[in-house]
């Protein structure tokens, strides 16, 4: 496992350089994980990408650096303390830093010689690949995905010049599996929605959810999806509900602030029993918070958002595999139960990229709105009382019956009513859908020692860091560690939690928020208490090493 930091100023092409490198290593058989750290502005500021390459699955970053590629001197000053004793610093030969780990190359002068200062990135990339023993056999294929045809040759030349500047120092350790794909959490989520037969997506741009809108917009024409930028988040969700009512599977996405605006309509989906998927890619709040950074602080909010009571499901995405399959599953559950399903992602997962096995469509099952059999004319009850609470949902215009939706309390036909008995039965009917849903909840993933002393609980994108922490901690002493990593989070799956909690000596919740929202939810739902909390809310994702350090200091 190697951790490399690529840093520079905004506008220097750090992101593109990092993206090309990720693709390169993925194509060479490595598992790759990369996360960007950037300021909320377009130019200037210090930016870096952390690139991790491994022979096994990797879903988290590390700041214990094996290598730094610096495109400005600020990168050196800020990150040299994080470089391991046997690491390397790849930088321009004009930098004054004195360090025996420095590999100085004259990339700036050479790029000017090649006719374009922007070639510095390619030269550095060529050198870095050489350090890892990589030749340029698939460089042409990779470059063509990022660079316009007419510039490929000159960039290849720069790459080659970079290769000549250094000697290899790392024996290649990638696997033979060179067929993996590499994509961001938001792209994976959007692909999952496409794979589930999404037909309508409406959203208002908001970081860090905007790349979902952008990806779907770029593929909408090919995939037959209408993607509409709404005038505001309220319009976005009401449009999604209108489209879904009329038979087009629909989703809307935003971050916490936009979710606030959508809240009333979330209740409409619940009350009128219209399938809907709402994505919240969380960022630190409240209000504007830290727009380009990460947090997991919307859990309790989305579980209780909107007035009144109605059934809903909340799924937290843990990694780039989940992002695809769970989004597809969310659309299916929304359709079958006629409820709103909320997907909780966050900036860390949404913006980070990871290599994964290509997604397998045969693993996805989705019910489609037109699959339901029609009912004889005049005999249709849209909100018929049923044992499992699910009434047959026909699509208006596709049946010789009237289809209704109402935000007012209504009877089985859908006419508004104030009748006390009907109200109670309708509430019971809607809420009973949760009981059926509980039967198909997915238990959290358990990792670590079979009978652990310390049980860690976490949810969403801390998946990767917690797995790494458990592995580090279990290598150390006699204390045994395990972790439950929640994906389905509301309704809360309880079987495995109760089983593991009864064995463990102590339970620690690890969360990217200030109040321990998962711990609260667990206590509320099961009475189980987490004795210690590892919480972080500075907008930066916790790493596996940081979790392990804090558990050693604060818990054990």
């Amino acid at each position: 496992m190697y951790n490399i930091l690529i840093g520079g100023a905004a506008g220097q092409g750090i992101e593109t350089t990092a993206a090309i490198l990720q693709k390169f290593f993925t194509n060479s058989g490595y598992h790759v994980f990369a996360v960007r750290d950037f300021m909320s502005r377009v130019r200037g500021g210090h930016n870096f990408t952390l690139l991790r390459i491994s022979k096994d699955n990797v879903y988290s970053h590390s700041l214990k650096l094996d290598g730094i590629v610096a495109f400005n001197e600020e990168t050196v000053q800020l990150h040299l303390p994080e470089l391991k004793p046997d690491g390397f610093l790849l930088c321009d030969s004009t930098y004054t830093v004195e360090d025996n780990r420095k590999i100085a190359i004259n990339m700036v002068a050479l790029s000017k010689e090649l006719g374009n200062p922007r070639f510095a990135g390619m030269i550095a990339m060529g050198a870095l690949l050489k350090l890892f023993g990589e030749d340029l056999s698939h460089a042409d294929k990779v470059l063509r995905q990022f660079i316009k045809e007419q510039f490929v040759e000159s960039n290849m030349l720069a790459l080659n010049r970079g290769q000549e500047l250094v000697e290899s120092r790392i024996v290649p350790f990638g696997s033979k599996d060179k067929d993996k794909i590499i994509l961001s959490g938001n792209q994976a989520l959007a692909l999952g929605a496409i794979a589930a037969g999404l037909r309508f997506y409406s959203a208002y741009p908001m970081s860090p959810s905007t790349t979902i809108l952008e990806y779907l917009a770029s593929k909408g024409d090919a995939a037959g999806i209408v993607v509409e930028q709404a005038e505001d988040e309220i319009a976005a969700i009401n449009m999604a509900i209108g489209a879904s009512f009329a038979g087009a599977p629909a989703m809307t996405g935003t971050s916490g602030g936009g979710f606030c605006l959508k809240v009333e309509a979330l209740g409409l989906s619940g009350m009128a029993e219209i399938p809907l998927v709402v994505v919240d890619v969380q960022r630190p709040g409240p209000v504007t918070g830290l727009p380009t950074r990460t947090e997991q602080s919307d859990l309790k909010f989305v579980i209780s958002a909107s007035q009144g009571e109605f059934p809903r499901m909340v799924i937290a995405l843990r990694n780039h595999t989940d992002a695809f399959y769970q989004t597809a599953r969310a659309l299916d559950i929304a359709e079958r139960y006629q409820i709103p399903v909320i997907i909780l992602s966050d900036q860390y997962l949404g913006d980070s990229t990871a290599s994964v096995e290509p997604y397998d469509l045969s693993k996805i099952k989705v019910m489609r709105p037109l699959d339901v059999e029609d009912v004889a004319e005049g005999e249709y009850l849209r909100f018929r009382y049923t044992e499992n609470g699910i009434s047959p949902r026909l699509i208006p215009g596709k049946t010789k019956n009237f289809v209704t939706a109402d935000s007012d309390e209504h009877d089985e036909f859908g006419r508004i009513t104030e009748d006390a008995e009907v109200r109670t039965r309708m509430m019971d009917k809607r809420m009973s859908k949760l009981e059926s849903l509980k039967l198909e909840l997915q238990e959290p993933e358990y990792v670590g020692a079979e009978d652990c002393d310390t049980l860690i609980v976490g949810w969403g994108s801390t998946y990767g860091p917690i797995i790494e922490a458990v592995s580090l901690l279990n290598q150390e002493g006699s204390e045994k560690f395990g972790a439950l990593l929640f994906g389905d989070i509301y309704p809360l799956p309880q079987r495995l939690l109760k089983e593991k909690a009864s064995i463990a000596k102590r339970i620690v919740n690890v969360e990217q928020n200030a109040t321990g929202q998962l711990a609260d939810l667990i206590r509320e739902q099961t009475g189980i208490r987490c004795w210690e909390s590892i919480l972080k809310y500075d907008g930066r994702q916790i790493s596996g090493e940081e979790i392990a350090d804090r558990i050693r200091r604060e818990v054990v």
Binding site: G197, E228, A236, N238, I241, F245, A246, L370, N401, F402
Partner: protein
């Protein structure tokens, strides 16, 4: 012509409410156009006007206050075989839903929008609405309304609406004729329907409107935008009713690449080959 008629039901409106004529005219317009009730979708938000879908046999979507338009346009995007009609009040449309009104004019989805404009809030019992006249005294505007009333006609024309009509609930035949034109118009069509509120608006009464409205005749050219703006400004001693402005503009469906195919969105088949290709673009 459709065999199936539109049935109306008993309402909860006050006797004398302008909504009765609006409901009657709408039923007549739909039947004269030969619409099949199973292919009509009535969309509404909240308010007295928004109760209308409850009282006519068609598909109905009664959503949130101010939010009828986003739901309506998206339903039409999902299935353009549906005739989508929004009924909403002046508060619902120009107040709570002002932003959606503005931007759905621009979006130009082929739906019809009837705004029941009684210049007052009826459902919440008589507060000023965005179109209430200055000086009207209510339980909230205790010193008389000091806010300048909105001119929805001017706003709609300025924002680029392709069909801007005005009608009066007291002129049923004329109202029906305007409604038919609006429903048949290919694009977003809005008709602001003046109506008395017998319970809460003692200024803009039936007699008030009846004395002032006059029908635009064939000498009026609705394609002249400047002239339409001038007509839209006439809202005092004389109030013109009819189609104030009309312009054919490409609809959302014509502009959208996915919808141009003519296959209704909800009937598009799923193609795993396309999805697999998209997945492997990340290889």
């Amino acid at each position: 012509m459709s065999e199936k008629k539109f049935e109306t039901r008993e309402t909860a409106w006050c006797p004398g409410c302008g909504n009765f004529n609006i409901l009657d005219s709408l039923k007549t317009a739909l039947e004269e156009l030969g619409k099949d009730p199973y292919e009509v979708l009535m969309v509404a938000g909240i308010g007295q006007a928004a109760k209308l879908p409850q009282y006519i046999s068609a598909n109905q979507f009664c959503g949130l206050h101010g939010r009828a338009l986003p739901a309506a346009v998206a339903a039409k995007i999902a299935n353009d075989r549906l005739t989508v009609i929004v009924n909403s009040g002046d508060g619902d449309t120009y107040g709570e839903g002002g932003n959606h009104f503005l931007h759905n004019i621009r979006r130009n989805v082929n739906i019809t929008h009837f705004v029941h404009d009684n210049q007052i809030y009826g459902l919440t019992k008589g507060q000023a609405s965005p179109t209430s006249v200055k000086g009207i005294v209510t339980e909230v505007q205790v010193n008389g309304n000091t806010t300048t009333p909105l001119n929805p006609m001017m706003l709609a024309i300025a924002a680029g609406a392709g069909f801007v009509g005005r009608a009066f609930s007291g002129r049923k035949e004329h109202l029906t004729a305007i409604m038919k034109q609006a429903i048949e118009f290919d694009g977003y069509a809005m008709v602001d329907i003046l109506q008395p509120c017998v319970s809460f608006n003692k200024i803009n009464t039936f007699a008030y409107y009846n004395q002032r409205v006059y029908e635009l005749d064939e000498t009026y050219d609705p394609s002249n935008k400047l002239a339409a703006m001038e007509k839209a400004m006439e809202f005092d001693e004389k109030i013109p009713i009819g189609v104030l402005y009309r312009e054919d503009r490409p609809t959302f469906h014509k502009n959208n690449v996915v919808l141009q195919s003519g296959i209704p969105l909800l009937e598009r088949t799923y193609d795993p080959a396309v999805v697999n290709r998209l997945i492997h673009e990340f290889a």
